[in-house]
């Protein structure tokens, strides 16, 4: 197991190196001057322009740039932000990570628990009106642009009915001596709309996978055997069938990371959630490419790690895959 894990992690590290190279090439083949933001909007002396180019390493040959980028990135140094110059990108990213993890965790929780439950329900009532309509609703959610759904929810729940906050993670007017409970409730209230938005647009995949896997499991002999032994329906469904149908859903974990992260760029920007997604969105507006580069690298690392965790889960749950 350990040997396997070391090999798998080594493989992921190699892929990550390829990712970094790919991103670097992408950035440099894209037409346009990365420093346009700093140099276009004000008159700037050629000497100053040259100094800036040297500062961001743009005067070096491409191979040298790649080498210094790679060695810096390996040390976790992503350079200096153009917009927030001279703040280091690492600082910006570190401050934005916890809110993103909180939102991502909340979405995963809702997505997984509700998606699994609905998928099982659909499989049990296969072919019924309920099954068909749940499928259609899930597909409709999947077809919605997340930023648009977010705006719809804001205009209804925050502006029209004034039930929930429209933006940010905390209420700036909350008094400084508010207790831990009040603060917690405040964050949860801010969390509701972004979580609902991201869950609605992502839940279809979970439901579909769970439904398919459950249908497969319900056909198996051990389910018939469990029924024949007179076990309660609930026990048959959850203890016998579902345990075997949970497995394919785990594959989704690897798929979720990119979907969630991409979705959060839009949703965080609509709700002004102080996470990585809105950092990326504002970096787009200000053309702050070192920040974008760092978020892209971080996201890719998360995707690769998600893949390793999925494989690990497989091996742990299904001994047959250990031979491979």
């Amino acid at each position: 197991m350990t040997a396997w894990l070391v090999r798998r992690l080594g493989q992921a590290t190699l892929t990550f190196a390829a990712v970094a190279g790919l991103l670097f090439v992408l950035m440099r083949v894209a037409p346009g001057d990365p420093l346009a933001r700093l140099t276009d909007e004000r008159p700037i002396a050629p000497a100053e322009r040259a100094r800036l180019r040297a500062l961001f390493g743009l005067d070096q040959p491409l191979t040298r740039q790649l080498a210094s980028f790679a060695s810096a990135a390996a040390r976790g140094d992503f350079g200096v932000s153009i917009e927030y110059y001279p703040v280091r990108v690492g600082h910006l990213v570190a401050a934005r990570l916890p809110p993103s993890l909180l939102l991502g965790g909340a979405v995963l929780l809702v997505n997984f628990s509700l998606g699994v439950w609905l998928g099982v329900l659909q499989a049990r009532r296969r072919g019924s009106g309920l099954d068909r309509w749940l499928t259609r609703l899930a597909i409709a959610g999947y077809a919605m642009p997340s930023f648009w759904l977010g705006l719809v929810l804001v205009s209804l729940f925050a502006i029209r009915w004034r039930l929930l906050p429209a933006a940010q993670m905390t209420d700036p007017l909350l008094s400084a001596e508010a207790g831990l409970l009040a603060r917690g409730i405040d964050v949860v209230r801010h969390l509701v709309l972004p979580t609902v938005t991201l869950s609605v647009v992502t839940i279809a995949a979970t439901m579909r996978y769970q439904r398919t896997a459950m249908l497969e499991a319900l056909r198996r002999d051990f389910v018939r055997a469990a029924r024949a032994r007179g076990l309660s329906e609930r026990r048959v469904i959850w203890r016998h069938a579902w345990r075997n149908a949970l497995f394919p859903v785990l594959t989704l974990l690897g798929l979720w990371v990119p979907i969630l992260v991409s979705g959060s760029v839009f949703v965080e920007s609509v709700f002004n959630w102080p996470g990585l997604g809105s950092l990326a969105a504002s970096a787009i507006a200000t053309r702050d490419y070192p920040v974008l580069m760092a978020t892209a690298l971080l996201v890719s690392a998360a995707v690769l790690l998600g893949g390793v965790l999925t494989d690990l889960g497989y091996r742990w749950l299904d001994p047959r895959t250990r031979a491979a």
């Binding site: 790919l22 990119p258 892209a296």
Partner: protein
């Protein structure tokens, strides 16, 4: 080869969701195509002083702050969105099919190398690849946008096609063709490609919905279709600070995206079920 495909399409058409999706999609595409003949010029600003007006008989979807007709802009945005999606997906499919066929048929080092590149590319969410590519590009022309979206969408398709080719190579008819002395390119084009078409087709319809959402998202972030060309995502971006004063400005483009992508996904779902009846 026509026979089984006709049966598959008949099965997809028999599915009410698939039929509904196809009819909706056809109607939307027709409305978008004939937009210049039945709607006012989307760039016309007949009454700047009036500003944004709510939906009325004269302007079914209302007008925006520049007094432009929102319905005309949504329809023209549809031309742009559907055009970009269709061409970008065609490009992705061509690239993905070519790489998948080559990797699966040649195997060995070529296959290993291509699949390592695909592995790396698949680890970066497509949105981020596009953002990095587009962010420093000030005024991107639409053909370049299509090329960028198309060139970043073939990775998963190449994997699917490669898998199908590997499976098909073991089948008797392909081995028989090789044994009878068929050349490499003949085996690929006459035997492997037609049989992988099912996989390619399903991947195409799925890709169209994805690309419509992606393009809308890019335009919403300000790096996709640039104004004054109308696009659904761009219209929602413009309407963002008039959520309460002029809700029709962001509702209609969003509904257009939802309806189009929903229709495409229903068709894709029906096709997938028709190709693989067990999963329904």
């Amino acid at each position: 080869m026509i026979g089984p495909f006709r049966r598959t399409f008949a099965r997809a058409w028999a599915d009410p969701s698939g039929r509904g999706g196809l009819i909706t999609l056809g109607a939307l595409a027709a409305a978008a195509i004939i937009a210049p003949w039945w709607l006012p010029d989307p760039a016309a600003m007949p009454d700047l002083a009036a500003g944004a007006t709510p939906p009325s008989v004269a302007h079914l979807f209302g007008t925006d702050q520049l007094s432009r007709d929102v319905l005309a802009r949504v329809a023209h945005g549809g031309r742009v969105s559907l055009g970009i999606a269709g061409l970008a997906v065609a490009l992705s499919l061509t690239l993905g099919t070519a790489v998948g066929l080559v990797a699966g048929y040649l195997g060995g080092t070529v296959d290993a190398l291509l699949m390592r590149v695909v592995d790396a590319a698949l680890a970066i969410p497509r949105l981020f690849i596009l953002l990095l590519l587009l962010v420093v590009w000030e005024q991107i022309p639409i053909p370049a946008l299509i090329a960028a979206i198309g060139a970043t969408g073939w990775f998963a398709t190449s994997r699917l096609v490669r898998g199908d080719v590997l499976r098909l190579r073991q089948e008797g008819f392909v081995q028989a063709a090789t044994a009878l002395g068929a050349h490499g390119h003949r085996t690929v084009l006459r035997h492997l490609l037609p049989n992988a078409l099912g996989v390619i087709l399903v991947s195409a319809t799925l890709g169209i919905g994805e690309v419509i959402l992606l393009e809308a998202g890019l335009s919403f972030l300000g790096v996709g279709v640039r104004p004054p060309t109308p696009s659904w995502g761009g219209m929602i971006l413009d309407a963002r600070n008039q959520l309460t004063t002029a809700p029709w400005l962001f509702l209609f483009p969003g509904l257009a995206i939802l309806l189009t992508v929903l229709a495409v996904n229903l068709v894709s779902d029906a096709l997938r079920a028709a190709f693989d009846p067990r999963s329904a």
